[in-house]
Subunit: 144 residues, 6 copies
């Protein structure tokens, strides 16, 4: 079989949620100093982008059906976090300080095993926008 | 003195806030039926746009200094609502169900008297974006 | 009863469709001269915005439930035109040259009677984006 | 002949230009106090939107050919101001302090007579964006 | 000669086109099951971004003239696909199922040899947006 | 201590500035031929994005406080270049032809040492937008 091009596809979904940043092992004063106005309850229109890499299947012209990727994002992520208070209402975010960084990692951990079930596909990036100005991105890397 | 062109200028500012929609005179079940997922605590990256109409002053080329309009929006609106929980944290929104409609009206009522103090200027529109898809706009009209 | 603020709410939806501009009463040469590259089959990511005006109901803080407006747009418009060839696949666009102008008028005619059934509400504007650069807007006006 | 729908079409074009705000009848100190950082040489990616209203011609489905509107904007406006220093390089802006307000009025004055030559068409609005946050809009109104 | 910084430059262009997804080796029913609504004729406002990497030439401050990159994109890609039906009207897409993945690969194959003719330059990425939500990206990788 | 996820955070800021492209070692004619309309004085609404990579500190959920990153961008970059003429008004851009490429490199060189002072953090990318269509990106690479 001849060589196949390896392409990345990306799907974006949006959700609206409330959060506040508060570290349980810090005092109220330390939290306010650390997080500033983000220490108080507020919210965002978030966007999440998932990137999947794989060979383009010649018969279909697709790495993975974008409809399947959309459905996974809706079922595993958006359906759980949309119109929710991230600090208390989302089981898979229990004990997670809902910073952009931690949300990107938690979304990766939840989505990655499902992407692996698609032949030849791997999740390569989760990008989480709190706003157009603030973004966090996780690719599955860890410290040694 | 010759005729002057009458121009509208518009300034946009953004803020992040949490809210939930809950009508005090309805039961919990009625609230859930009415507002659906918006009945639970969530949040948005809001945008607010204020439009001011007036003659262009020939010596300056301005209706009103956009810097003054920006400052008014920051002091009267953004500074009060950014990184806040609109249902409980904002004095001028007390007793207001924080729908997009009510926010647009409350912002108009707060900003309009200050715009009037600028010679020849009138506020003509407040536009409030909950998201790119949901907008409310108030021009000061009321029912007869 | 006291005076109520009259507010406009606006909902945006998107759809993807193919079209070509071809006037039945013109020759092929005249069509090409008139419409240029738009005479050939191509397509767009369209956006449609519907604006509804009415008094803000004090008990709910709403002109009309944005969820109802979204549902109407989905059922009456998006469900009919999304992923379609506008020239032949959409019954309510039969015999309509699918210019931005005609789409805005056809969408108004289809949506307006349904908005009227909501107490105190009127449709005040349909805005149709072919792209960020090309827009048509219809408010129900006609020539005398 | 039956009544025709009256529609507004809008075309957006972009240009990049330098400007500074400096009123000739004010001292340097007064200019700095009035315009702040806008008193120094800087620049913008501007957008200009022109809105034209007219009946939809039944044979073509168009108010006016958007290609003609685009061409007029390119020839009369963009070709004159793109990649220019607005204070000194543009003949039709001589003696104009290049505020957003004055640019909107100058663009209206230059474009409006040409739109009138299209049967049944009138220019109804020029919108000038200095940025997404700062906009000026002129509809041809003047003080009494 | 001293070390030079290696920079990536990126140019974005847009085009409007129609397409449908239909695999020739599948039945109509299989195509509908696989591609869903994308099996019917529709269209998009596409964006394509080309990224070129190379050393910054000290005398000009450029990796490659962005005007040359724009011209190549216009001549090789946009001029061929804008306002076209991708399934039948574009010679270099013959026998290509016009998924986002396949378009990204076909665009790379067409553009890459021309970029190589610019001293020190290499094409490093083609990004193809069907919409803000659906993207495909190709960097020239293939399966072993 | 257990492995920590390594995340990239990104902050975007905007500024407005004037520039012209003119190489000191070329004649006026050569400059015009090389840079075209960019050889004349014009300007842009620029965006700059800085990406920082590091482990997510478990106690705070952050790679680096986004507020610190925003402050650094404001102090080191935006405060120096906003509402300025890049060719003459900015000390750290003296002798730099202000192409997008050179701005990205100059911004990297100015920001990178400060990011290094944050424990475990490294600057991984500076992205400079002249417009939505023209972008330059620098990651600290140099020719051998």
């Amino acid at each position: 079989m001849s060589q196949l091009p390896v392409v990345e596809i990306r799907r974006r979904e949006e959700f609206c949620a409330a959060h506040r940043l508060h570290a349980p092992n810090l005092s109220d004063g330390e939290n306010l100093a650390l997080y500033g106005p983000c220490n108080t309850l507020h919210g965002h229109n978030y966007s999440v982008e998932a990137t999947v890499r794989g060979p383009v299947e010649p018969g279909t012209g697709m790495v993975m059906n974008l409809t399947d990727l959309m459905r996974l994002l809706q079922e595993l992520l958006i359906g759980e976090v949309d119109h929710k208070y991230l600090n208390t209402d989302v089981p898979f975010l229990a004990d997670v300080i809902p910073t952009a960084e931690n949300l990107a990692v938690a979304f990766w951990n939840r989505l990655q095993p499902q992407i692996e079930t698609f032949k030849g596909c791997q999740l390569t990036r989760i990008r989480l926008y709190e706003s157009q100005n603030n973004v966090a991105e996780y690719c599955g890397l860890t410290t040694p």
